[in-house]
């Protein structure tokens, strides 16, 4: 049902086209605008069908429930922009989460545990980067290996779910800053948006970010231009690993526990969010803000299916798959027209 409604958006697209002519929209921003339109459309559908859908509460919950995914998507954007892929983020998130839970259980102070858990992600990212750059293993396989490695280490740490009652984590998880009547912001949401802001700054206002785009646009050309391709390629995986580490902490905060099975398939959600956000998987084109919108689209679909009640959870997967398809075909059409 939701698919039908999503499919019938040709008039909207026409409106976007005319709007673009008027505001002279950069063509590069087109996919992101598409995502924004889809997000608005989903909200319109939700608001139309259910009372209380268009409330600050629902929107605030999007950030509370998806803060970890937002952070993962930011890291994934860097990797995909260079034309790579990182399959390890879900497992690294779980590792960071269960490691922090386990250390906190052993009464380690939170100010040591949190940096340490993030550092584990950074180190795994570095390992992946070195495997890809020095040993020329394809990103797909290197990150697959890292995924198995991280998942295995999770089970080594603990097979059971570990609850977290550390006061710092509890504070992070229960604090709510109200904005206006019904809007709330949590520390996790602020951290996630902070990561998005940093990602945005690094990608658009630093040499490193420009090199990332250059590698995605054409690695050979980037090398010939004398850009530090090797260092950048390793660093994007370090960034993605670090983001996964941060995501793990946020997930620990969200669930107030660590469990080795968390984040199974989350790398796919992150990739889907990045693609829906308009980043080309071949690299070189895309925006961090698009990925943020992509996560919000996924989260809103989830919310609608929860609101619907009669729809079962598997519809989430089917709708996300269908949406992914629509976006990929759309990207393909745009790319074909550009040629």
């Amino acid at each position: 049902m939701a698919i039908d409604q999503l499919a019938g958006r040709t008039p909207v697209k026409a409106a976007v086209t005319s709007l673009r002519r008027r505001v002279r929209l950069d063509r590069r921003h087109l996919p992101v605008v598409g995502t924004l339109v889809v997000l608005a459309l989903i909200f319109a559908i939700g608001g139309n069908r259910y009372e209380n859908f268009l409330s600050g509460r629902v929107f605030s919950n999007l950030f509370i429930n998806n803060s970890h995914l937002i952070v993962l998507a930011v890291g994934m954007t860097f990797v995909i922009l260079t034309g790579g892929i990182d399959l390890s983020v879900g497992a690294v998130l779980a590792l960071s989460s269960i490691l922090s839970a386990s250390l906190l259980q052993n009464n380690w102070p939170a100010f040591v545990v949190i940096p340490l858990a993030i550092l584990v992600g950074t180190l795994l990212g570095l390992l992946v980067g070195v495997m890809i750059h020095v040993f020329e293993i394809q990103p797909f396989i290197a990150t697959l290996a890292a995924m198995f490695l991280a998942r295995g280490l999770c089970y080594v740490i603990s097979l059971n779910s570990i609850p977290i009652d550390n006061p710092t984590i509890v504070w992070l998880s229960s604090t709510r800053y109200p904005i206006g009547d019904s809007w709330v912001v949590t520390p996790s949401g602020i951290i996630a948006l902070g990561v998005v802001a940093v990602g945005f700054y690094v990608l658009h206002y630093t040499r490193f970010g420009r090199t990332v785009y250059a590698i995605g646009g054409g690695e050979q050309s980037a090398i010939l231009m004398g850009l530090p391709v090797a260092r950048t390629k390793v660093l994007v995986y370090v960034i993605s690993g670090t983001c996964a580490g941060i995501g793990g902490i946020l997930f620990s905060v969200f669930s107030r526990s660590g469990y080795s099975l968390t984040g199974v398939g989350m790398e796919l959600d992150a990739i889907a969010a990045v693609v829906i956000g308009g980043t080309l998987l071949t690299g070189g084109s895309g925006f961090v803000l698009g990925s943020l919108l992509g996560v919000l689209v996924l989260g809103t679909i989830q919310t609608i299916i929860t609101f619907e009640g009669t729809l079962s959870s598997w519809w989430t997967k089917i709708v996300i798959g269908a949406l992914l398809l629509v976006f990929v075909v759309l990207q393909r059409a745009i790319a074909a027209r550009r040629r």
Partner: protein
């Protein structure tokens, strides 16, 4: 001379995977001296080695398709979902059939499951070859949606079934050997014959090495890509029947979970490059045995099975590092006659 070099390369590629497999088997035999024993009971063969063979059958099937897809520079992430869908469809059909024990009903169930798998494979092939979407993302669509579809078929339940003929596929015996092994063996033989005794194998490799050039040379790359994805779908469907028959239930959530990753892993361990081109079916076979033996070893050593991914990671990293150009060129110092590989890794 080129041929000789290629032969040497293949031998070299299979050397480390085979060494790893033998090392695992030796380690197991040292730990449990009866590991290599095969005993005959009621005319059926039993033993750890037979278990490895049987447990690796679904993986081998999935991998055969994956090898062909990877050889065309593609990748198929959706096989796990297809495994789940095929099992779900066959089991739902059998659960609602009036006479699940008749061979006819079982054949129909398998038939419709495989037909749907073929359709899903053709769908992937359509996205990749006609629309020209990158294989990772094209198959990611079905990977994401597929499990949802499987759950839709089973209404989210684990569908239990009772059907003797269906049970044979996964845990029965034919001629003293597990039926699953014979099925996987037969499919392997067919694929090996078709790709190595006809031009198809060469055409697949040419599409993988240079799609543009092979198209200009008159190779129908579009239909070849279509064929390999369709084949991957059907093989995954057969694997799905095997897995669901083994547990006599359809588990839309867990059937074939991560089998695509295992399959890709095994293909890479077997020496087929993800960059496309040359593929090695025997290497793929060895890869599947390594993964299955590893899983069994972990269980035998009394380590919680959940830790298996850690060992898989170690094996993959080790094998990949040994195959890495930088390491190989160091190892190849002893044979200075070897030409420098022309192709730069993508």
């Amino acid at each position: 001379m080129r041929n000789l070099n290629a032969m040497g390369l293949v031998r070299h590629r299979l050397f480390w995977p085979l060494a790893a497999l033998i090392a695992l088997l030796v380690a197991n035999t040292i730990r449990t001296t009866s590991f290599l024993n095969i005993r005959v009971q009621d005319g059926h063969l039993y033993g750890a080695l037979i278990d490895i063979l049987r447990n690796s059958s679904p993986l081998i099937l999935v991998e055969l398709g994956m090898t062909l897809v990877i050889a065309t520079r593609g990748i198929d992430l959706s096989v796990g979902a297809v495994v789940a869908i095929s099992g779900a469809l066959a089991c739902s059909f059998l659960a609602s059939a009036p006479n699940p024990n008749s061979i006819g009903t079982v054949l129909v169930a398998c038939g419709i499951a495989l037909a749907l798998s073929l359709v899903l494979g053709v769908w992937n092939g359509f996205l990749v070859s006609v629309l020209g979407i990158q294989p990772i993302i094209a198959t990611l669509v079905l990977m994401t949606a597929g499990r949802g579809i499987a759950m839709l078929i089973t209404s989210g339940q684990i569908t239990m079934i009772h059907s003797t003929p269906f049970k044979t596929i996964g845990s029965g015996f034919w001629f003293g050997l597990p039926a699953a092994v014979l099925i996987a063996g037969a499919v392997f033989a067919v694929v090996a014959t078709v790709t190595r005794r006809t031009a198809l194998g060469m055409l697949i490799e040419s599409v993988g090495i240079n799609p543009q050039a092979s198209r200009l040379a008159g190779v129908q790359s579009r239909s070849i890509i279509w064929i390999v994805y369709a084949a991957a779908g059907v093989f995954a469907g057969v694997a799905g029947l095997m897995i669901s028959s083994n547990i006599m239930a359809a588990d839309a959530n867990n059937a074939g979970l991560f089998i695509e990753l295992d399959a890709i892993l095994a293909v890479v361990i077997g020496g087929t490059s993800l960059a496309g081109g040359k593929f090695s079916l025997s290497g793929t076979l060895v890869g599947a045995f390594i993964i299955q033996t590893l899983t069994l070893t972990v269980t035998i050593l009394g380590i919680p099975p959940a830790v298996t991914p850690l060992f898989k990671a170690i094996v993959v990293i080790a094998v990949c590092l040994l195959q890495a150009p930088i390491v190989r060129s160091r190892l190849a110092v002893r044979r200075p006659a070897r030409p420098v590989p022309v192709e730069v890794a993508a």
